[in-house]
Symmetry: C2
Subunit: 197 residues, 2 copies
């Protein structure tokens, strides 16, 4: 497993930490890699933004801080404004389509956009938008096997919510498979992505 | 705020991560300190043990790994066996009384013991044992103000569970205030602690 830095960010209550835990478990438990999740609480935690950092690696992770993520998965505008400038050149930005409006990205950034909130609402529970995003991430990032991520989802949620989260993962993954192209640079996601849920 | 290293450990599903998040938020959001939580997923994550590391500090945390915690809060025997040897000399061990049997501790370790599962069950939900332990930690560790930790609990749980978790925090805190003495060394907790819930 190649060293991969990921930041998942949004606002409190969206399930940012759980999304990061799922990705970390997929890498370590189901793909025999190593993963470290770090969460900073400090002045930045006093606003509404919530962020988790993940380092995935084939070897034990010696330095767990993420400075320039390869992937930024972002579910709020505030988190986007704060963390998008840190994405490494030619890195990948994965956004919740209706919650994030992009602009001023580092050169070469690939952008993938998913209407995760709407998909989650159609499944009956807005709260699973984080797992829809995880499914979408699995489809477009290709860092981990989708089966690994799916297993990690099932292992990380309470038994009563397994079915719902399995559907959320599947819906996000399916959306990613059916809409695999990154948005053209300097475009607004609303104009470029056909929403078909 | 003095630099303080804490490890919270147990098995998956006990709410180890949430307990750590609450302590981290209390330190940073409510006491103007800094906190970093780190979770390793790797070979160790493949067993049932679950552990979160916390560093609390008055300054930004540059090195987030915990090697010899000042405090180990532990909720399973497996996690106890694994992490107790790492407690720093004269450090503090905080255990779930019915889930952990102590032995072979580093010299000078202070041990505090709380029947958190039973207290949680009396509140009607075994799942809040983690927050009972957080309340107990707040009472016996004296690292943070109890009001800060209480606020962090309320901020970290879904609205529908605020009341239950507030009661869990209060019950754990009360138990710690009423049973403030560390167990004598080399003794079994069952013999030394009078359970009064």
């Amino acid at each position: 497993m190649q060293l991969t830095e990921i930041r998942v960010a949004g606002f409190g209550g969206q399930g940012v930490i759980l999304a990061a835990i799922v990705i970390g478990k997929a890498a370590s438990i189901y793909e025999n890699g190593y993963a470290t999740m770090t969460q900073n609480f400090g002045p930045e935690a006093r606003g509404g933004a919530c962020s988790a950092q993940l380092v995935l690696s084939g070897d034990p992770v010696l330095y767990p801080y993420v400075t320039n993520p390869d992937f930024l998965v972002v579910m709020s505008q505030e988190a986007y404004v704060k963390f998008a400038p840190e994405v490494r050149p030619n890195g990948t930005l994965i956004i919740e389509q209706d919650l994030v409006r992009i602009g001023n990205l580092p050169a070469g950034t690939k952008v993938y956009s998913c209407p995760a909130t709407r998909i989650a609402e159609e499944l009956g529970k807005r709260m699973v938008l984080n797992i829809v995003m995880v499914g979408f991430f699995a489809a477009v990032s290709r860092v981990l096997k989708p089966e690994s991520v799916n297993q990690a989802v099932l292992e990380s949620v309470p038994p009563a919510f397994k079915d719902l989260n399995a559907k959320a993962f599947e819906a996000g993954y399916k959306y990613g498979v059916e809409n695999p192209d990154a948005l053209p640079q300097h475009s607004s996601p609303e104009k470029e992505v056909t929403v078909e849920v």
